[in-house]
Symmetry: D2
Subunit: 243 residues, 4 copies
């Protein structure tokens, strides 16, 4: 079974009673709970722990990492970002949630600004399934409806996704590519839009299902990174061939 | 300059006074007019002409073909569809409009059912630009708004587009990949959603601009189709190499 | 476990003693054998059976279909091709092998000519892994080497693959996109180049492994096709919302 | 006409008489010369100039930037890399040549290691055209043959290209995706493999033609970057609508 680490900035929870009430154990705690029920081996890590909770030991033992951040992207140390990136290239899955679009790790893997439009107005969101044959959408009807969410709108400055899984409709008139997959090295990356901290989004069973599906899909390939670098001179190769 | 043929089924115009009033010279006539103003060399062709107006001579002299059909997809002869397909593979551009998603030629090039959701309720549509760097979106602001259009909704059963150019928001709660490019052989294909016959969509300057941009983008590559088939035996090749 | 049907034209085996010696039970027989060892539920079907062995009952009970054809593509009935295509859109996996690039079913799903260069000269082929993170390459080293194969060369007239899995190097100087995935409707399609009838390619353990991996990857999504067609009028929808 | 800046590290030219003989005015000088003949407005810039020759003024007046680097990737200042990246996101084209695969700017835009196999053995390379309909291949026959080049081999650790334009065959048994396009923000990026400093590759007319074609293709879109950030509250929008 996939070994999951749920990383959360865990700052809104300290400051905002609405968030604390929705997520008494933190957003990471709520996510960890429904993943444990599903049978995943789960640990959590947060910004204010040493090394942000992402030690070499933790990363080595993580098959897929979930990332939620917002207020304090800048406080995440470059060295940790670089280690997470290396682990993705080695095969670790990465599920980036909501405001994580602006995290250092997501921007480093995308190569673009990852900027977008946003509005906090508690609007209705509908996430339409664009790739019904994809395992991330298993068990999801034609759309997921969230009564109240923050709006994220296009243009979303990302590379064209390898696969576009969901597209959101918002009450106020915007659309958004809200579920996107990418391959980077041996690793699989999934960006999933919903999850503003002042709404109960991660208690929604369909949202939980998408995250569960994504973790299974992101399971690392059973292989080492390819060997890169210098190859034997052609003469030696020719010599071998002639023997 | 790109030589354009505008193909229209031209049946709604005969039956429906609303359509006739909006498009007195037919949808093809209206499209041909704004293309001529732009400087394209334009001809039109319609279903009820001999060979649907798409003779070998016409196809040979067409750089990019626009396709509007709806009621009578089934009446289009297979032999003509096959000729159009061959011309696309040779490099002719193809712009498929609105209900043309269900045309024989589009389905033959896609390999899928091209099915979708629809509703005629005169809803507001907003086409958001997803690829602002693409030449098809030149001169278009962040979105095009159409006050009244037919709704087309996901899931749209197409192969993942090579490039997703527009995504539509509809008042009633749906989204749709409303501008999609594909390469097929040497030819470029662009599907563009708007244009229900009972709305004045093709009089909209921004919609016209997208069609003009697409025709320029779809200009045929200046080359013959690759040579396929049998290659010389390796021994002969080796002989040549050693000389 | 994935229920597999191995379809083979089974004509070379009747005519050519070399092929018969390499594949005494037919190419389909050899493929079925190594799949059974792997635990798949396998049946075979051939061109000269009634309905080419692909009755509604067989297709309904097939999760993934393997296709090998060459001499007699034209003898495959359109009605059967259409049924296979519908099943792919419903989610059945399709693994197209070698000269199946020119089969009616592959061309119908691609929308292009699927033409290529070829030469029968028993050349060395190396299939390099382009997507090492993809499940189809599990257990495969950086390349598969086949001492003698037919050459297939670029340009290969296909739509750009959703994922490019392998690229072949040939002794005579050509390259070829030899492992390509596509999504069509709910179904997954994998084209895999090797397998000329006069070489023992399907006895190669690595080639077998790729086919086994592809069948697991192509397992149908656990869902019905989306519901397409007319949606309720906006007024009714608004009515419902206000209740 | 596209305004081009040719950037070259210009170190091999100082150290290696073979390189100096092949490129007496530097690799940048040779490239600039054939671009001027073609009518481009060209300037050059090199590592050892102040700000590596890439001042704000220069970048502002560059429509497309060519990048050749190898020995001294590490000496390129982060601040300059960041400025070049911003210009790409704003629409400036970027043509990365040969060993530039390991440049900071290319890695920053890709998000991967960009690692590969290599061997200096003066092998024959054939660059096969994979996308014959693409403007970058205009005027190029089915392949370009270079008698002697450094080998680069797969696996090449890049994101799947938006379009794969060329694939190379090497005498020693390797293949390589040697022409790859990417969209990043409003900018177009083209990676083009050939050009080892000890071979006369940039004197080859077909290689020159590809670079010329790429520069035309990479011409910036005629638009500003999208406006990102906060959108008006829904209430205000609703208010406006009701007026």
């Amino acid at each position: 079974m996939v070994k999951v680490t749920v990383w959360n900035e865990n700052r809104h929870e300290q400051k905002n009673p609405i968030v604390r009430e929705l997520y008494p154990n933190g957003i990471h705690g709520t996510i960890a709970e429904f993943l444990q029920v599903e049978g995943f081996e789960v640990r959590t890590a947060t910004l204010d722990e040493p090394e942000h909770g992402l030690t070499d030991e933790v990363l080595k033992n993580t098959d897929a990492l979930i990332w939620w951040g917002h207020l304090a992207h800048d406080e995440v140390k470059e060295a940790i970002v670089e280690k997470v990136k290396q682990r993705v290239l080695e095969g670790m899955g990465l599920i980036v949630l909501h405001s994580g679009h602006f995290s250092k790790i997501f921007k480093a893997l995308m190569g673009t600004s990852c900027d977008l439009l946003w509005r906090e107005a508690g609007e209705k969101e509908r996430l339409w399934v664009i790739s019904p044959g994809h395992p991330i959408t298993e068990g999801i009807p034609e759309y997921i409806e969230l009564e109240h969410e923050e709006m994220y709108g296009e243009h979303f400055d990302i590379p064209q996704p390898d696969e576009l899984i969901f597209t959101s409709w918002f009450e106020g008139g915007e659309v958004f590519r809200s579920g996107c997959t990418y391959n980077r090295g041996l690793g699989k990356v999934f960006y999933f839009r919903p999850g503003h901290e002042t709404y109960p989004t991660y208690h929604n069973k369909q949202i939980q299902r998408v995250i569960i599906n994504a973790l299974k899909w992101a399971e690392p390939a059973k292989r080492e990174r390819p060997v890169y670098g210098h190859r034997k001179p052609l003469e030696e190769m020719k010599g071998e061939k002639s023997e």
